[in-house]
Structures are given as C-alpha cells and as structure tokens.
Symmetry: C2
Subunit: 334 residues, 2 copies
C-alpha cells in the first residue's frame, strides 16, 4: 500500500466554450481525506475518460448535474482501498466506483463494488464496466440484432462500439463498423471480427457505407451523430432499430444542427430509443457474469488507450471528443 | 338490393404536384363486374377518405404501392353484397374491406369482414375501423399512457386522434389535444372529454401548449409533424414515448424540411416509434370487441364528416390534407 502526503485533484476552473482545454481546469492539493463510518478512502489507480464527461462541463440542463466551478471533475475510477470505515472493505481491496479526477477519493461504501483480480483492473472501466454494460443494454433492450440482419456500429473501435459490434456478431448479424481512419478500420475488421468497416473521414464515405450494407441497415448503434447519422438514416430498413447512445460529434457545439425529417419513422416503422446506462444498474452483474469468461478466453476483444498521469486527463478528454484515442481511453494514475 | 346499370369509378389521371385537385382524377364508367369462385361483388355504401391516400398518389417509394395512372383510386369501403361466389357471404350482407373509389367493387372474399348492423355501418371505417385500430395499437404498443402522465394528441378531433385521446383519458392521463381552430378545440374538450385543447393556428400556440402541459409531455401522438412537432419535442419528459402515426402537414410537399436534432432522444431516453396499422391485423377483432360496447353506451365519442356523392371524393381528400374536415371523413356513396 502506497500513500502520498497530499491529494491531487483536478477541478473545473471555467466552463469551456467549444473544445475543452487544459486551461479550463486546474490542479489543487489538499490533505488526503479520512473515512467516517460507512465511508471508504481509495487511492486511484485508473481513471476512465468518456464522452459523457463533456456534458458535465456544460451548464446546459442534462440527465445528470453539471460539475460546479471549483468542483472536482467527474469520472469513474478503479482504486485500491486505503482506509475503510465499512466492514465490507479492507485496505488493499480493489474497487470500481469511486468518482472524480483525483489521486484519492472518499466514497460511500454502498457506491463501490469489489473487483476480481483475475481480469486487468482497467477492464472494469471498459469492456467489463460502464461502456460494456452500455453496449450490452443497448443491444439487449433496443437493438436486438438477429441472424441475417445488418447492424451498423458507429465509433466502432471505441469502448462501447467495439462491444456492441461483437455482440451483434454473436447474434449472427452482418456487422459493419464506422470509424475514423484506416488504422481503426483495419483493427475493427481484423481484431474485432466485424464483417466490414467504413472510414467516415474518407471522401467516398457514403458510397462505401452503401456498398458495405447491400441489404440496408436493421440495427444502427449511434454514438456519433452528424454526417454519419445523416448517411445511415436513409439506409434504414423497415422495422429498423436505432440505439441512441450518444452523439459525440456535437458535444462541443454551442448550437445543435437540425436533424432528420421524421417521416421515415412512420413509413418504415422504425424504433428510435435513447439509452443511458444509469437506468440499467441491474445489467452490471449480468454483463460481468456473461463477459468475464469471454474476456478470459480471448473471444471478446478490446483495446485500451492508456494515458499516463492524472495531469494529462484534460488533454485526454479533449482528444477523445475529436476521436484522437484508439480504444477505451483510460488514465493510469498510479 | 339496388343495382345500377354501370359502375362509376374514379381513376388517377396524373400525379398531383402539391395539393391534389379534382382534375388529377377522372370518372370512368364500366360494366358492373361479375364474381367468380371465391369472389364477391359489393355495392359501395360508404367510402373512407384518409390522409394515407395522399401517399398512394405519389410515385415516391412507400410502405404500400402507388396507385397507377389510370388505376382506380385506393380507399376502404363498406358495401352491401350484390353477388357472392363464396359460401360465407350472401347478397344483402354488409361488409367492410372492399377497396376502391367506385360504386361497385370486386373483392376476394378472404379480404372482407361481415359487419354487425347494431352500429352504424360508417363507424366500421372510423371509430370501429382502421382509424380506431390505429389509435388503439399506437397507445397499446407504443404510447402506453399511465395515470398521472400527460398525453398530447395531435389532430385531436380527427378519426385517429379522437380515439387516441379518449384511450389516454381512460388510462388516467391528463390529455391535451391539438387541433385547428376554436370549434374543433371546443369539441375536443366538451364532447371528447379531453382536459384541454390548444389551437395550432393561434398566434400564441407555443405558449398555450406549454401552459396546457405544466408537467411536460409523456406521450406524444403524432399525426401532423411540422411546427406542431417542433413545439412539442422540447417539452418531452424523460422516458417519453412518441407514437409516429403520420405527418399530414407534409404530405403535399415535394421536399421534406429537416427535423429535430436527435440529441434529446439520448438525454431524455425517449422512444420514438412508427406505426402502420397494416402490421396489426390481430388488433381489429380485439379493438371491436372492446370498443363496440363503448360506442353503443356512448362512452366512446366520435364525430363524422359526411360528404355526399362519390364524385366529391377528390375534393374531400384535398380538404382533408388542409384540415378542412371536422371529424372522420366519409363519402356517402349510396
């Protein structure tokens, strides 16, 4: 067990306009907190960087409260228990659930889950964690891919998309990824096993997407929005399902552009449904029981993009919103 | 049993651009058809005029084939059996199901349903027919209004909206109609029993809709689109359901305007789903069993707008698309 004299935490200095930058944040040093009854202090090992965090920087009303100016920035971590005021945890336990961009976090014990050391701890922030559960819930509750159907997965090399596509593949669907750049597309096909992947940065993106989906689209898993969405929607088949998980292309935008005329929803009897993993707490244990053996036997593939050092978290988030990461973005804090 | 020497039928002369007019159609006279084995000839009593019929005039790809130039215009009828080549029907039977804007129709017997004489025959084209089943299916399968929720019903005085709203009211929801003009709004509240109705033609429409829905919108039943949809969408609550039944405001349009940015679907976990009653054949018998007693005891209210004479069907359809009708539009043919 290691310890440091002071806690480093990254707090919000001002709300960014457009792309967040390091100067929107500052690092403060405070004493390491102590744990009261029912509380646990953890030393942060891994910090998760996810697209939803951009929403927390905005004062815009959302499904979750904004981070306040001067408040510690929001993010899930994997940590090691340093001090426990709760009988369920002892120092040295690994847990997932402490929240904040900080080297040490004080949590209510009820918000933490002990994790197995059999899988790498960082996977509890990715393939076995929130993004994996998001993909699983989206496919189970909304997408429901079937054998012979075509599923199109946006941000296909990312934390959510990579799992969503592999689940559609397991269900017997033809799976087409959309990703930014040839390297990601190659990974999506060669490593993740999708049937095809289309580069949304290529000049012939629309033609390539149409060629990759000769039978149209039955399941569209949306993480991106914008031009990618505009290309996919006219290709939806009758009774298509659209899993609305995110629209990262507009998270830095002050104003949102218009979207599709909804006439197609009637004529094609499309179902479009939004998904926030907060609503699916019951799916975590279910997903981990299902997916941990697949991770262990290598049949569920994942890729992590590791940034070293808490101080680099702001730049990591800014990069994520531009698609600079390649795989699940995590910060190795200690 | 009456008979006429010739059959009058309205055929499509040319595809209308924008609003259909009488000159897009012409009346032809042909001999009354004869019925082969398994076929039935009916004399048309009532012809249904519905918004979907605009789609049949267009060459645009849709969920159902277009009417061909020179072909008899599409529409459901109630008729009296004149000649039967099928043991299930005898002359004099009343049936719903023959299709076409014509005084006499030849149908496969398997496409017809005998109707009770206990309810007025025209109700099998409205409250007990396709529009009623549409409203019922939309609320049962998608809208699912619950006690204490707010349901907003567009085209609230129309064939579908009037039933949809009364079903939401029976479910215990606060029900707010949207209709064109003070007379329709008065009817929606006083006769149909909605809690409120907002005139979408009034200058203060948006403010009035907001005032009528102090707790936001949980179920939005869409028949209209356009500005009405644009006003309603920002008022949707978390977990709202949008029943996409039609968007009549754009049925005469050559190009569709953009729609809403879909970011709200994610953040509010909205479900938007399209509905075509063709997919719900199993709901007809279910709905008639449920609704016929309500029609008989007066607890399910409906209003018909009757046009006399088959020759006036084209003008009736053009008027329907502008909201000129007040209640379920039917043509009294004979």
């Amino acid at each position: 067990m290691q310890s440091t004299a002071l806690r480093h935490a990254i707090v919000l200095r001002r709300r960014p306009t457009g792309e967040p930058s390091a100067s929107d944040f500052e690092t403060i040093e405070t004493p390491i907190p102590t744990a009261g009854t029912g509380e646990v202090v953890t030393r942060t090992l891994w910090l998760s960087i996810d697209p939803y965090q951009r929403g927390r920087l905005s004062a815009r009303k959302s499904y979750a409260p904004s981070v306040e100016i001067g408040g510690v920035m929001e993010g899930e971590t994997v940590g090691e228990v340093l001090v426990s005021g709760d009988p369920h945890f002892v120092p040295g336990d690994l847990v997932v659930g402490p929240r904040g961009w900080a080297t040490h976090l004080l949590s209510k014990a009820s918000t933490l889950a002990k994790i197995e050391r059999t899988a790498p701890p960082s996977t509890y922030l990715g393939v076995l964690g929130m993004p994996g559960v998001t993909a699983y819930s989206g496919m189970k509750d909304i997408g429901q891919p079937k054998a012979g159907e075509t599923a199109v997965i946006t941000a296909a090399s990312g934390a959510v998309g990579s799992v969503a596509g592999q689940l559609a593949k397991r269900a017997g669907a033809r799976v087409v990824g959309i990703a930014g750049g040839p390297a990601k597309c190659e990974f999506v096909v060669d490593e993740l096993g999708f049937d095809a992947c289309v580069d949304h940065r290529a000049a012939d993106f629309r033609e390539a997407l149409a060629a990759a989906c000769p039978n149209g689209i039955d399941v569209y898993f949306e993480n991106v929005g914008g031009d990618v969405q505009a290309a996919a929607i006219p290709m939806l088949n009758t009774f298509a399902r659209v899993v609305m998980c995110g629209m990262v292309s507009q998270y830095n935008a002050a104003e949102f552009p218009p979207g599709p005329n909804l006439g197609f929803v009637v004529g094609k009897r499309v179902r479009i449904e939004g998904l926030i993993v907060f609503d699916k707490p019951h799916r975590y244990a279910e997903w981990r029981a299902l997916a941990a053996p697949w991770v262990a036997d290598g049949s569920l593939r994942y890729r992590e993009h590791v940034i070293a050092g808490l101080e680099n978290a702001p730049a990591a988030l800014a990069g994520l919103l531009k698609g600079d990461n390649f795989g699940k973005l995590v910060v190795h804090v200690a």
